[in-house]
């Protein structure tokens, strides 16, 4: 029996029995003939297909921007999908106006995506700033304007909206004609949609799908898929004594904005701004990042430096594996066929411990790392009590630098020590040359990022000229 997927697209009630893995991009363009949503790359790297998805949470509809090319139609069940056609009113809305006035649209192909991201920003935030509004466009590529006019129009409209409004609500945005008034009735209409019944399968499990839909969107259409969606009422990030548990289905956005984690990692939001783009972070999950096993995974790099554990489950049998032992080769891991990753956990940083995350890629934002590196360090008068180092892009899987750790333990931080440690790192890694850089570059870069950890954390002790 097929599952009926029931949702609202713009102002229209939709029910469909299409294959649940059909992408929302194809669905809106081909089935609904809404062609304002564009196909630019089909890998979440251009943002021309950006749409908004609104979801009920505590009686409110919470909207997020997502890439429709990586979004299965089944994930829309019970939700509100908004395409550019769904924000159109008789007259141009203030965002559209600002874009026209400043010439922020040239060929027009990327424009709907930009406007959806920007609309998403105004819907998702309570306090606005031009800088943040511009940052919300980190998943959108424009090849024509050079972004200057897009920035100008964003600044202008942010100022306009900020002036007219104190708190975020759909009502206010409707009042300002940013949104059409049908938005007022969406919450009630969503409540009326019965829940989706997921068919358990042994075929393909899909979490955020941000990599699966890049690599295998065609294959998924002929597979049985089960969607690992978290019930919004479940707590994604749980702190128990000195341990932190993160549900595998937690999105990167949820982690990035987690208030409880921020207490322990004040720079958290900075680290994770380099993870994909906002629409990707809104979908990509921790579990997905772990199981993806990409050698340059950003989340795994972070977790390795916290010596995190992977919690696996098969028919209520739980097994816990340290992440540093989880990977056994390229895309190989210590997981039985029917086990699924349920969560990850790690010991919270000690007070007075140090943490740093570094990532270098060809383009600073929305790019895959050439090399990334994290460090967790406990010291007393510069004597290293405990340390965890991770490195991405330098081995077939996310690497935990165990030999370097052993070397550093109990020693006193000095330029000389770091130079010696860098030599041990050299022996631990095995980078290859590819589109993200030559092996030679990756070796040098990791050395530099290793030094960067200490230059950043101990500026009085370690300076650049002393280590290179």
């Amino acid at each position: 029996m097929k599952n009926i997927i029931h949702f609202i697209c713009n102002d229209q009630e939709i029910t469909t029995e299409l294959h649940p893995a059909t992408t929302v991009l194809d669905f809106v363009r081909k089935n609904l003939h809404l062609t304002g949503t564009k196909e630019g790359c089909r890998e979440g790297d251009c943002g021309a297909c950006t749409v908004l998805v609104g979801e009920l949470l505590d009686g409110r509809v919470i909207y997020k921007s997502v890439n429709s090319c990586l979004l299965p139609v089944a994930s829309l069940h019970g939700k509100h999908l908004v395409t550019v056609e769904g924000i159109n009113q008789k007259e141009l809305n203030p965002l559209q106006h600002a874009f026209v006035d400043e010439g922020a649209s040239q060929c027009g192909f990327c424009t709907p995506g930009f406007l959806m991201s920007l609309t998403g920003y105004f819907l998702a935030n309570d306090v606005y700033s031009a800088e943040e509004a511009i940052t919300s466009l980190d998943g959108n590529i424009c090849r024509c304007t050079g972004y200057a006019s897009i920035k100008r129009s964003t600044e202008k409209v942010t100022a306009e909206i900020t002036m007219n409004k104190n708190h975020s609500s759909v009502e206010k945005l409707v009042e300002l004609k940013v949104l059409p008034d049908y938005f007022l009735g969406i919450q009630k209409r969503l409540t009326a949609i019965p829940p989706f019944i997921n068919t358990p399968t042994n075929d393909v499990l899909v979490s955020g799908g941000t990599d699966l839909f890049v690599q295998q969107w065609e294959k998924l259409l002929s597979s049985d898929v089960e969607f690992l969606q978290r019930d919004n009422t479940e707590s994604a990030i749980r702190i128990e004594n000195d341990l932190c548990f993160i549900d595998a289905r937690t999105t990167i956005s949820e982690i990035k904005s987690s208030a409880s984690l921020k207490k322990y990692f004040p720079q958290l939001a900075n680290y994770f701004q380099y993870f994909g783009s906002l629409p990707i972070r809104n979908r990509a999950t921790v579990g997905g990042n772990i199981i993806n096993a990409s050698p340059i995974g950003d989340m795994t790099n972070f977790l390795l430096a916290l010596d995190a554990q992977v919690h696996l489950n098969e028919k209520d049998n739980e097994r816990v594996v340290p992440l540093k032992n989880f990977y056994t080769g390229y895309k190989q891991f210590d997981k039985k066929e029917n086990e699924i990753i349920t969560s990850t956990s790690f010991k919270l940083p000690e007070t007075n411990s140090h943490f740093n995350y570094e990532k270098v890629s060809k383009r600073t934002f929305l790019d895959i790392a050439s090399v990334n590196a994290s460090i967790y360090l406990e010291e007393e008068n510069l004597q290293i009590k405990n340390v965890h180092l991770s490195a991405g892009g330098v081995a077939p899987y996310p690497l935990y630098l165990s030999k370097t750790k052993e070397f550093l333990l109990k020693k006193t931080i000095s330029p000389q020590l770091l130079k010696q440690a860098a030599e041990i790192i050299e022996e631990e890694i095995s980078p290859i040359s590819d589109a993200r850089g030559s092996a030679e570059y990756k070796r040098l870069l990791l050395r530099q990022l290793f030094f960067a950890h200490f230059i950043k954390l101990f500026p009085e002790i370690i300076s650049l000229e002393e280590v290179v």
Partner: protein, 751 residues
């Protein structure tokens, strides 16, 4: 100013090729391409693919009804490979199926056997093996050998510039509809509707009147759809012709990236001689252009490289040699700047090297050698109406070059990890197709009986705002509300024998043609008014704000009333006009002549900061004084300048096309080929319109704007190198672009 195209864009209502509703029964095409860069096809078996459920046909070279040839300038490019393949991504077969998904699945069932041959991917290697597309081209004046003997300083060196993917957000594509009488209508995403028509006719074996090409708009072109849109339109046309059904062929991104050509990678050797006080006396340069496997537009691009060999400077003795080298890469093609950027990069590298040797800043040499009025280029044309110095000195004063230098020096003294650098970048870009005959355009203007106006021209709208400029031209001449004017699709049955929308010239050429057609109509209407209302022939009739004026007094006749009156009096309310740029010529034997209608000038200053631990960097600012002539569409012109600058920065920094030695593209997706995002845009960008500039040869005294500002981006490279020098003053860096974070870090630390 309301740009009507833009109001549709922001509502998502603008239609691109992939957005048109197609008829029931439309088939979808997927292109099967070569997986090797060079080899013979031993066998190909399509039987399983043809049997795949939902597949209607698989088309091979032998099925092509006309000639299997789409080469534009040189006939060296088959539509589908027949016996040999010459690059990875070369089309071999077309699979037609009920859906794109089926076509793509079926494609995997095609079995092919090759005998692999050794591919050549490097231009110098191709040259050494005698693989030239055309014999060497040499532009020269004076006597470089003699001049070098008298120079105080002579520097020699080498440069490399990389390929650049156009990355138009809308991929290549076309829809072909069979029409009655065995004809074909094509909706194409092409910059050159006539070239597309010609290519389709050739492969179909049809006369041109049997094939209609219609272009609504492009989701970006940047040169990538000048010649290279033809193949996909021709494939859709052949398919529709053979199967008698509508066929849609839209390239998925990765196929687009691996099957189409890029900006040409260049390698060049330069030698520059100067007096001890920095006057450039002689310049010799040899360009090795990596043309790819077929000529495409390479020879024309090579010529522009030679034209712009000395950028914005006067050099009395020049010898510039161009070698178009045939390799086993996808045929490289037009890209904003069209060979000019590579030439200018080389010249600026030579200046930098000379400056280092003389122990002065590059800007000292730049300033000393800028073109003055009537200086002669090495190809014989004079720099008339030169604004090279005006732009430089305005920029120097406005942006405080001296202060920038001081600030950078202070910052570099105070900071160990971060270093700043800056560079000035003057440009001079010739406006005209260097193939003289292409400098023509047509317009067809209809005034409908209700007073609304439809304008058709040869220009293709691809984001550069040409449609809006044409509307402004018509609105100005008729003095009516822009809302009354619609710019129609570009269609070969309305305006025939079009030149492609390229060379920054579409607004000039088509704007002028529109101006002529509108003026014809206006004169016709004025004559009619005089006759109809019994004015004398000396009375001055004018249109102002939708009203008719006689001798500066409104006569109580509105535009709409006038048109209705004219219509009922059987006045011809349609006009066609043709415009050809006057006074240009070029002797391709002697390589001398007046190749360009005029030149575009400007100067930019670029500031950057390099992180010397990590090798990463940011562009702090780009500030330019640019000569727009008299701009009549400021928002559009500013947008063109800003967008071009960003593309130039991308070419110089993060945009890195990597082919492996087997000729396979490694950067074939947006995840591996990175173009600038909103965070990599310069923190500050300021484009100042040069005052008091005039240009009778441009539409309404404006200047072409599409390409020239791209070359300001070149300054980024030298600014980065200057920052790197502040960290490693003793090191000499290579002139190898793009200057990726990888190259920065390796240059800083590798001994």
């Amino acid at each position: 100013m309301k740009n009507y195209d833009m109001t549709r864009h922001v509502r998502g209502e603008s239609l691109f090729a992939d957005d048109f509703i197609v008829p029931e029964g439309t088939l979808y095409a997927s292109v099967f391409d070569s997986s090797i860069a060079h080899g013979k096809i031993l066998s190909i078996d399509i039987s399983e693919a043809e049997k795949f459920p939902g597949v209607k046909k698989v088309i091979l070279a032998q099925d092509i009804p006309g000639q299997n040839q789409i080469g534009g300038i040189i006939q060296d490019e088959p539509l589908l490979a027949e016996n040999e393949v010459h690059f990875c991504g070369q089309p071999i077969a077309i699979v037609l199926a009920e859906s794109l998904l089926i076509a793509r699945e079926a494609k995997k069932k095609i079995k092919i056997e090759y005998k692999e041959l050794t591919p050549i991917t490097d231009a110098r290697e191709a040259y050494a093996k005698g693989m030239l597309i055309i014999p060497p081209r040499i532009f020269s004046n004076g006597n470089v050998e003699e001049a070098f003997k008298h120079c105080g300083v002579v520097v020699e060196g080498k440069i490399e510039t990389g390929a650049q993917e156009h990355l138009y957000l809308e991929t290549q594509g076309a829809i072909a509809f069979p029409t009655e009488g065995n004809g074909i209508k094509i909706i194409s995403s092409t910059q050159g509707p006539t070239a597309t028509q010609r290519a389709a006719c050739k492969v179909l074996g049809l006369p041109m009147h049997q094939v209609e090409v219609d272009v609504m708009r492009l989701g970006g072109g940047f040169g990538g759809k000048e010649d290279q849109a033809n193949a996909w339109a021709a494939m859709a046309a052949v398919s529709a012709f053979l199967i008698k059904k509508t066929v849609k062929l839209i390239l998925p991104r990765q196929e687009d990236m691996r099957m189409t050509g890029k900006r040409h990678p260049y390698s060049a050797d330069f030698k520059m001689g100067l007096s001890n006080d920095g006057k450039i006396l002689a310049y010799e340069v040899t360009f090795f252009q990596n043309a790819g496997a077929a000529a495409d537009l390479s020879t024309a691009i090579l010529d522009r490289t030679l034209f712009h060999a000395t950028n914005s400077y006067f050099v009395p003795n020049v010898k510039a040699t161009g070698l178009s080298c045939r390799t086993n890469l996808p045929p490289n093609t037009a890209f904003r700047g069209f060979g000019g950027p590579q030439a200018m990069f080389t010249f600026e590298a030579a200046i930098q090297k000379a400056a280092d040797k003389l122990g002065v800043a590059a800007s000292v040499i730049q300033e000393k050698n800028l073109l003055k009025e009537k200086d002669e280029f090495h190809y014989g044309q004079l720099a008339e109406n030169s604004k090279a110095q005006a732009c430089w000195f305005k920029a120097k004063e406005k942006f405080h070059f001296d202060q920038i230098k001081k600030n950078v020096d202070t910052f570099n003294t105070e900071n160990k990890i971060y270093k700043k650098g800056f560079a000035c970048m003057p440009i001079c870009f010739g406006i005209s197709f260097t193939n003289t005959f292409m400098n023509q355009a047509g317009a067809l203007v209809h005034i409908y009986s209700d007073g609304s106006v439809g304008v058709s021209t040869a220009a293709v709208e691809m984001g550069q705002g040409v449609n809006e400029k044409i509307r402004l031209v018509a609105a100005e001449i008729f003095s009516i509300d822009k809302a009354k004017i619609k710019v129609e699709t570009t269609n070969t049955t309305r305006v025939a024998n079009t030149s492609p929308t390229a060379a920054s010239s579409a607004a000039d050429l088509n704007g002028k043609a529109t101006e002529l057609a509108c003026k014809n109509l206006a004169e016709r209407l004025m004559t009619f008014i005089k006759e109809e209302l019994n004015f004398s022939s000396s009375d001055r009739i004018a249109f102002r704000d939708e009203q008719v004026y006689c001798n500066d007094r409104a006569i109580g006749l509105t535009w709409t009333e006038l048109i209705q009156k004219a219509f009922f009096t059987r006045v011809n309310l349609s006009a066609q006009a043709h415009y050809a740029v006057p006074g240009i010529y070029f002797d391709k034997e002697k390589n001398k002549g007046k190749a360009f209608a005029y030149y575009s000038f400007g100067t930019a200053v670029v500031e950057v900061t390099v992180d010397c631990i990590r090798g990463t960097y940011v562009v702090d600012s780009v500030k330019a004084v640019h000569d727009f002539g008299k701009s009549f569409a400021n928002v559009i012109d500013r947008g063109q300048a800003e967008g071009a600058i960003m593309q130039g920065i991308g070419w110089m920094t993060m945009e890195e096309i990597i082919y492996n030695t087997d000729g396979k593209l490694l950067t074939d997706a947006l995840s591996t080929y990175k173009v600038p995002d909103i965070h990599s845009a310069p923190k500050e960008i300021e484009v100042h319109f040069l005052e008091n500039s005039d240009n009778p040869l441009g539409i309404f005294n404006s200047k072409a704007i599409g390409e020239p500002p791209l070359m300001y981006g070149i300054g980024t490279f030298f600014a980065l190198q200057n920052a790197m020098k502040a960290f490693r003053p003793e090191k000499e860096f290579e002139f190898s672009a793009p200057l990726t974070p990888e190259k920065v870090l390796l240059s800083l630390y590798k001994e």
